[in-house]
Structures are given as C-alpha cells and as structure tokens.
Amino acid sequence: MAVPVAFFAVFFAYPVAAIVGRGLKADGVWQFGRFGEVLARPEIRDVLWFTLWQALASTALTLLIALPGAYVFARFDFPGKQVLRAVVTVPFVLPTVVVGTAFLALLGRGGLLDDLWGVRLDTTVWAILLAHVFFNYAVVVRTVGGLWAQLDPRQEEAARVLGASRFTAWRRVTLPALAPAVAAAALMVFLFTFTSFGVVQILGGPGFSTLEVEIYRQTAQLLALPTAAVLTLVQFAAVGAILTVHAWTVRRRERALKLVDPAQTARRPSGAGQWALLGGVLVSVLLLILLPLAVLVERSLGGSGLAYYRALTSADANSGTFLVAPIEAIGNSLRYALVATLIALVVGGLAAAALTRRAGRLVRGFDALLMLPLGVSAVTVGFGFLITLDKPPLDLRTSWILVPLAQALVGVPFVVRTMLPVLRAVDARLREAAAVLGASPLRAWREVDFPLVRRALLVAAGFAFAVSLGEFGATVFIARPDNPTLPVAVARLLGRSGELNYGQAMALSTILMLVCAVSLLLLERIRTDRSGEF
C-alpha cells in the first residue's frame, strides 16, 4: 500500500494540488470568492452545460449502439470474432489527433455520408457524439459483454420453460444480473466523454468547448491560473462523484453471481432474427469503427505505393521536421511505453493487492482515487510537474523519466481494474493452506497467487502498454529532448505543409494503429476466464 500511495502523492496529488493552489491563492490567502466570479461568467456556464449534456447524450448513444454489440460478442460464435474484438478496442487507445482526421473523412465533406446523401456532420454536435461512440464502443462491449458471456443461459431458458415470455425472461433474469455491469460501463463512458478533449477540438470546431478544453485554454494559452484552478476543481468534483457511483456499482457487480465459462455460452446464430442481429452489429462496427481506420490506411498509401513509409526511415527527407528519422519515434515510443508499463504494473499491482486484502471506507476511497488521473486534464498534471518536481532529490523537470511517469498515471487505473476482480477471486484458504504447510509469505505468494493471476497480469500489462503508447496529452507538455513518441511525431508532421509530411503522418498513424492492434490481439489470446472490466 505504501508504494502506490507514495506514487500518487508525489506524482499526482502534490503536482495537481500545487497548480490549483497557485491559482487560488493570492499573497498567501485563499481566494475562494473566485469560485463565484468564475462560475457566474455566462461563457463558463455555457461550457459547463455543454459538457454535461453532450456527455449524457454520448453515453446514451454509445449504450444504444454498443449494447447489441455486447450481446453479439457474448453469445454468438462467428469466424473472426477474436480479431474483431481486438479491432474495436483500437480506437480506445489511439490518440485523438490521429482519429479526428480519419473521422472527418467519414462525416465531413466528400465523406461517406456526403457521397450517399449529401449529409455533412463535421462541426456539428453529431460529429462529437458519433466520435464518442467510436472511442467508447469497446468499453461497453468489454465490460458488459464480458459479464454477459459468463451468465448461464440456462437460467433464462428455465424461466422460459416455466412460461415466461422471451422478454419477461430477459427482463426478470438477465437484466438484473447485467444491470450493474451496464451501469459501470455507462459511468466509464460518461467519465471519458465528460472529460473529452481532442474529439471536441478537432471535430466540433471552435463553436464547442468542454470543461477539459477550457482548462487547457485557460492554462496553456492564457495562463489564467485562477480560472483554470476553479474549473479543475469543478471537474474534480464531477469526476469524484462519477467515480464514487462507479465504485458502488462495481462492488454490487462483484456480488456473487454464478458464472460459467464463456466458451460454453456462445453458439452459432440460428434463425433469421439472430442472423439479422449479427448482421446489424457487424454493419455498425464496419461503418463506425472499421471505416475510419481504413481511411487512415488508405491515406498513408498513395504517391507511389509505400513512398510515405520509405520516407519515414530517412532523416534527410525530414531535415525540416526532425533531427532523426521519424521511424525512430517507434523505438522511443516502445521504450517509454515499456517503462511506463513496468511502473503501472508495480504501482497498480501493489494497489490491487492491498485493496484485495483490506476493506473499509479508506481503502475504497483509495480505489476511487486511483481512477482520478483519468478525469484530470493532462495540462494540469504536466504544469503541476513543472512547479513541484523542481528541487533535489526530485528535480525531474528535464528528465526523460517524466514521460513514462505521466503515462503510467493513465495506465494504473487499467491495471487495478483488471487485477482486482481476479485477485479477489483467489481463495484465501489456498494461501492459508500453503502457510500451514510451512511456506513463507513470499513463497506462498509465488506459488499460489502468482500462477493464478499471471494471465490477468499479462492482460493488465498489455492494456497499460497500449494506453501508454497512445498517450499524447501529458507527453506533449513535458519538456523532452528531441526523441518524440509516435503520437507526438504524428502531431508534428501534421503541423507542416507538404505532401510528404502529411503522408508520413498518416503512415506513422497506421503503424501506431497496427502496434496497438497487435498488442490487443495478443491480449485476446490470453484473456482470463474472469477478466476484469476491460
């Protein structure tokens, strides 16, 4: 427990508190009156209102589109299911700079909708909502689908035999078992869309602004720290509330349910209705997820075939943009992501272990605290690092380690959420038996716990790795020597005119997408029986 607490105190709580404090204090006196001033401004109220309603609408739309998907992935067996489940998760870990471009190709001018019906949705709120579905589809499919696959279908069948209609059986048997998972997924989607940044900026255009966008603008552009501090605290309160409700639904979900091996519940679809459902879900996945990804690939080709990919390997072709060949960004990214994964595993693993062994309100509070970095603006953390980690022994401001540290902050929640259910499922009596037989605690851990959680550990590692790989926000604010990560390199290439620069940005994005897809596909192969939330 000491390690994760220390990690969060030093690399999250302290920097964030410091930057907020700087905004709220004047001459050493707290200025809480600033809350009233800032929150009374009409443009801030607009931002708050828009943030709230778009998050609600996005969540509803995501559930509407993704719940049938969750059912299909849980109950049906069809060729290519594993690959497809990995693919739908790719958007979740892709940086928005990349995805925004691809999504415009779908909704913008000359996009598919425009070609078919002359409908253009870019710079409308629909673009934002649909992109949020694109990003969060996997959250619902994995959280809800994961549980659905393990519900014993015989319970529902029994209800049918006893005379219940199909709908009544579903409503009275399956729905109650599923509800906490749906609620947990909905809350996660709400959290991610409430704090949405890139999507809103790129697809919404200047007419739309969420709290997160406004915090970024106030901090990075205007250096209006008081306003930023107030907004950060408002976002904190909202995220804290979401996480508290989320933790509550998760606990309810962990209540004993008789679960079965997902392999036994999936079967080939039969009958026109089921085939139509499968077809409908596949079409929606194709349109909403595969098509934007395909656009990226398409734009990375062109000129003379693989010309853009070849240009990536040459520093000469990029003398104006990079000192080194962009291809080296892949090496940088992998190295950073590896270190970040290690940190996330150590911190997240220990936190999960501590949370398993202890109960009580304090521990539950810590559980929610670990999720907070997901809801705090990257710019707040990045600027916080800057003003706190500036004295020995922690003068890390110019150190490369800050990048993986910031990435690990985002990775830890995923590790905890993946490990916790599995660790909780380990029977304490096994451990006690080992102790009775004379095993030291370390040995008992090694020989009892470790083999049981090894697969969960791998899944957690893979997720932390993929998330670190795509992390953009904090990385870009951290001063670093000239070794850009993949998302940073993509952003820099997109910031230059010229065909080769644009083509290389698309080619690098495609590579990033492939690396993410491969690591997720490997995860699919080692998915645990009782997999966690993701």
């Binding site: 200047p206 800057l386 500036d390 370390l442 851990w445 020597p481 010229g498």
Partner: protein, 367 residues
Amino acid sequence: MSTTQKAAVAAVAAALGLTALAGCGSSDDSASGSGSTEGSGSKTVTLVSHDSFNASKDVLKEFTRETGYTVKVLKSGDAGAALNQEILTKGSPRGDVFFGVDNTLLSRALDNGLFTPYEAKGLDRVPADVQLDADKHRVTPVDTGDICVNYDKKYFADRKLAPPKTFADLAKPAYKNLLVTENAATSSPGLGFLLGTVATFGEDGYQDYWKKLKDNGVKVVDGWEQAYNEEFSGSAGGKKAKADRPLVVSYASSPPVEVLYADPQPKTAPTGVATGTCFRQIEFAGLLDGAKNEAGGKALLDFLIGKEFQEDMPLTMFVSPVAKDAKVPELFTKFGATADKPATVAPDAIAKNREQWVQSWSSLVVK
C-alpha cells in the same frame, strides 16, 4: 501484510533496476540523461523552446566547435504553452536560453521578468524595426515569419478568377464561401490574422470587417492542421480530403514547403500567397533569469543571430532570417512570396487588448 511489503520491496527494486537499464538504453540518444545538473563551469548549454524548433545537426556541431559548448534542446508544447511553462518556473529555469517568444506574446514574457538583459554580438546586422526591446536588450530577435492568406492556384486558374490580394478583397462577393481561417483564441495563425485585420482597419473598424467576412461565408476551424490539411483545397492533405476551400490563413513560407515536400518536386508551387493579407510575426530568444550557464547562454544568443544559424533556419523552421547578411535559399526566392507591407501591432497594445479583441471576435464570428 508482510507479504505485501516484501513483494513491494522486491517489485520496487526490480522496477528501479529496469528503469535504470532503460535509462542507459535511451541515454545514447543525443542528449537525454537526467539533465539540469550542470554547474556554472559546464560545457552544456540548454535551449528551451516550443515544438517547432529545429536546427541542422551540422550547425549545432559548428557551435560546439566554435565555443566548446554542447547544445541540449528541450521542447515542450506549442509557443504559448512553452512560454507559460517558462513563466511558471521563473527564477529556477529548466535551461539557459529560451527561444520562441513572438511579438504577440512578448509583453507577457517581459512583464514577468523572464529574461536577463544581454546585447548579442552582431546585433548591428539586424534591422532596427524588428528590435522591439532595443533599449534594454532583454530579448534578441532571431527570425520573422509572415502569416498570410494562401490560395489554391489551380482553383483560380480553372475559373479564370484573379486570386484576392488584400484584406478588403476577401470580403468581396467573388470570394464568397472560399476562405477558411483558424480560431483566434487557440491558434497562433488565427490570432495573427485577427491582429492583421485590427492593424489594417483599426480598433474601430475590424469588427465591421469581420461582420462582412462572416456574411461572405468565412469558415472557422480550431487549428491550423484542420484548416490547412482538411479544408484547404490547395494542400496535399486537402486534395485527399476533397477539400473545397481554396483560401486559407497560413504562412508566406507554405508554398515553398509544399514544393520541398512533394515527390517528385513540381516546377511551380501549387499554392500562392495573397501578399496584402500578411501579419508579421517576429520570434525572439532571451537569456533566462537564473540560468545556470550564463556564459554559454550568451554564446548561444550570439550564435542564433550568426550567419550560419540564420542561413540554416529557412529550411529547418521555414522562417526568414533577421540578419541582413544571411542569404535566403533558392527555394524561397523561387517559390516564396514577399509580404507587401506586412501589418504589425505593438506588443504592449497586443498585451493590453488581446483578450478583449479575441473575445469580441469570438462572439461575432464563432457563436
């Protein structure tokens, strides 16, 4: 509990070991390492800048050969974010020299007392009109760049329509629904263009002008990337995206860059510059207050306006040198354009009114 503790110790030890290993792995990439440990007699001088900073390796090596100092470059975010980070760490800076504060941000930097005065050697080769802090020399001008409307040559040739030349042209019916610009609140070319209109039409006239532009169908997107790559029909990205706006707010250097980064390189640039729509950006560098290596920082400032670095800049950062004796590469003389009396606004006027201008612009054009 003791299990957890032991496991924790083991895991932390392992993590530290691996971190150290990874550190070794990456320390051979030019100049990473844990930095900022340099003392005053150090042979390393640290340059802090924004993401767009670039210099050729050979040029930086030349600096080391001449002075004995090695340059370590730290980049963090765009120009605004990088400067704000410097302000937050004032007095205990991460480096010795900051490069990349432009005339729209200059007052913020100077008011915060970010820089130690130093008159760089060779400043006499730099025209007086770009030396905006000439009495105190807290900052040294290094380059200029013009933010101008670019046009898609093919679009106007196909329609036998003359491309616009001035701000006033842009509001004419012939160019209805053709222009895309950036959000002045978040994008530096967007702000530059707005300031250009303020300079041209005055504080009383710019709002009327924007009303006309709005009626003439100007489109505003958030950043340069979207405007140039997604909306502008003359760029490579825009062609793929089937973009339909032949006018975009970009840089005077964009056309030569389009040529440089095309494969094969065309004989003429696909885009042109409306030379009467330009706002001049001047970028400065300064010696940071509290710099650990002051001597090295001064040498670096001298070098930044030296002939070698000045001649390197056009092709690495696509900006124009300020030194009169620096030759501009042929690519720029051949494909580039010279701004026709670029607009400027005094930095203190920008500092004073910027928020208000941007705000009234936003409510006029965006909402």
